[in-house]
């Protein structure tokens, strides 16, 4: 087990390094940062001075080796736009996103498991059709559109929720609700599909022959078997939430890493881009390992065979 985690970690470190190299070079292909840092009416001399000050006039490989050198000292560079160490800024924002994504994902998963399972109990039935259509509809609308409409309705018209920001429990309702929609819709479909398949497995017949009731068959016998594909999809969706809660963070003024990353990208704050990507990448790789471990926990065959 430790061996497995170790092997996966070494592989992942390789991938993370490749990612950082890629980001380092590609980010510097996107134009002269002096144009974005300095006011438009700056002079050429001022721009050159800026580039010289921050080493942007060195050949790119020199910049790269300097970056690597700093990395070995755990120096991730200064976030130029923020006047602060880049890693500090990124680490401050990451937990905010993680909290949001984890809660949204957990709720979506639980709701999808219940709704998807019930829908699979009678495929083609009324509940199935209603659940399928409405969950998919929720997943099919652009999230920023849903978010703004929700704010106009719940905050402005009804006045029951705050428009945006953080603070009280009520502040969490809309961001999580919007963030949940897509995972919920997709997961419900995955749960349903997987459940329908599992419910026609022979061991379900055995359970019925034993006299096990319908509800217990669905939620105890079938559900755990139906989990594997759900975990895979849920993992991918969580990864995309960690990386891509940008829209929700932007609209609701949530101080998360997605928003930070896009700001960094737009402002060409290289050190900050690298740090945010490093953190999310590590989070995603850790999560992939976690998912493999969950696999093994859910399915003893995987535990006993191999990873």
């Amino acid at each position: 087990m430790f061996k497995f985690v170790f092997r996966r970690s070494t592989q992942s470190i390789g991938a993370i390094i490749a990612l950082l190299v890629l980001v380092f070079f590609l980010a510097r292909l996107t134009g002269d940062p002096a144009y974005l840092y300095l006011p438009l009416d700056s002079t050429d001399a001022q721009r050159q001075a800026f580039n010289a000050l921050h080493g942007y006039d060195d050949p790119i490989y020199v910049q790269f080796f300097r970056y690597l050198g700093d990395l070995t000292q755990l120096d991730f560079g200064m976030a130029l736009s923020r006047n602060r160490p880049a890693m500090e800024v990124a680490l401050e924002a990451f937990p905010e996103t993680l909290k949001l994504a984890a809660i949204a994902m957990a709720l979506a998963l639980v709701a999808a498991l219940v709704v998807g399972s019930l829908a699979a109990a009678r495929p083609g039935g009324l509940f199935d059709r209603l659940a399928t259509t409405s969950s998919l509809a929720g997943a099919s609308a652009p999230d920023f559109w849903v978010a703004i409409v929700a704010i106009l309705i719940f905050a402005v018209s009804l006045g029951v929720l705050p428009t945006s920001g953080t603070g009280t429990a009520l502040h969490w309702v809309m961001p999580i609700g919007v963030l949940m929609l897509r995972p919920f819709g997709l997961l419900t479909q995955v749960v349903r599909g997987s459940m329908v398949g599992v419910l026609s497995q022979p061991y379900i017949k055995t359970a019925r022959a034993k006299g096990v009731g319908r509800r217990r068959i669905i939620f105890v016998h079938a559900l755990r078997n139906a989990l594997l594909p759900v975990i895979t999809v849920a993992g991918d969706l969580t990864a995309s939430l960690v990386n891509g809660a940008v829209v929700v963070e932007t609209i609701f003024g949530w101080p998360g890493i997605g928003k930070l990353m896009i700001d960094a990208i737009v402002q060409r704050d290289f050190a900050l881009i690298q740090s945010t990507i490093l953190i999310t990448a590590i989070a995603i790789f850790l999560m992939n390992i976690l998912i493999d471990l969950i696999y093994a926990a859910v399915d003893p065959r995987i535990r006993h065979q191999q990873a």
Partner: protein, 547 residues
Amino acid sequence: MNTPQPLLTVENLTVDFHAASGAFRAVDDVTFHVDSGETLVILGESGSGKSVSASAVMGLIDTPPGEIVSGRISYRGTDVTRMSEDKRLAFNGSKVAIIFQDPLSHLNPVYTVGWQLAETYEVHGKARGAEARRLSIEALRRVGIPDPESRIDWYPHQFSGGQRQRIMIGMAIALGPELLIADEPTTALDVSVQAQILDLLKELQREEGLAIVMITHDLEVAANMADRVIVMNAGKIVEQGIAKDVFADPQHAYTKRLMSALPDEADYRDGKSSGESEPILEVRDLSKTFLLSPGLLRPPKSLRAVDSVNFDLKAGETLGIVGESGSGKSTIAKMLLRLTDATSGEALFHGKDIFRMNPKELMKFRRRVQMVFQDPFSSMNPRMSVFSIISEPWSIHSDILEKSRWRERVIELLGLVGLRAEHADRFPHQFSGGQRQRIAIARALACDPELIICDEAVSALDVSIQMQIIDLLADLRDRLGLAYIFITHDLPIVRGFADRILVMQSGQTVELQRTEEIFRRPQRPYTQMLINASPRPKWEQSNAAHA
């Protein structure tokens, strides 16, 4: 049979399966009864409706759209088809229990067997917690699982096939039901294990006074277990009666045909024993070691699947390789076909080592040696037409046949294996298992091979079809001068077909002899066991169960 009222009566049961093209009658006006403590065998081939009629008793036929159209199933006088959901749940498992073919897929893979056993007690309110666990351990012990205290926490995949079926039986009898339905309980098992399971069932029946409805396609198993027999064909009961009578003197034409599929005693192939000619294939010290991939929690292990096997084969000769699962017989086939590499040893085909052939030689070799696999469902690409399947060798080896003659030759080959020209444009799923195996044979014949390796080529087929395919192979052998390596777990089946037999166990050679020698004078206990493992009819057994 001292109870006046039967335990279970099925009257005029008719079951339809619905499909877009209309209803298909799976069970047609079937009537039978079961008395306490007796064994009723329902005998029939696939699609005869035998399983459906038994499942109906448990209310288990809703997978896909089966519907009881008419008829009555009563258990001690109560109609079970009209039970409420709650009554049904209380009834299933406690009064009537069922075990199935393929216990692996019928046990929930993600829960321990102990959990699954304990659940039986718990859902029926018989025991819970520690008490349920204790009862579960007892149940495992009862069905002969060694060391049940620790194995209760194992998962189904950690047991062998025979043990899994024991666990299924333990679960079925946990609540002391009066009737056990056994749906092909030994079909996927090795012969030696099959005998043990049948003995266990009989023992339990004796001790518990259990009535058993045994569903099987296997005549020997049927004879071994039955007090009474029902023979079903195409949804109808064609014959029923006391087992001995039915077997000894079948009345219905279908029953007669079935009975004739039992292999004959005499009739060994007189082996033209082309003793003088050079062997076409010489296998020397062939070995294969598998490195088991390390588990999450275990160190890596290695398994010697084939251990220094030697044999040779002459032109036109048939070698039977017989062994139970895990004996390494299929691995030999794979190595000889170069589908997997040998760990050591050599196999000389016309003097050239198969394992050291260069690509060009290998291509030539692959024209001379063909194969027929066990499962005709999966050995053909489902998206290719029969024509493309049979002609594939010609598109791989472009010099065999010019394209303009392909169709003509495909039709010729189809004729040779007993299929018709119009079959060429159909797809594999439109054929029955036997037909598919014929197609596979036609493909093997497409490049005029010298040797065909048949890996369990008839194991998946109904008995009557098995004999047809073997006869076809024998006929082709005589007409085309083919040599066969015929791999099987079923010793009797090669009796009239193979010239020599290689018996294998755990990767090692047990015995290599002429067929007649093997059957008449088996040298080793294992061979003897294989021969004797075939179940004997109940009425011939010394201490027959109380009748």
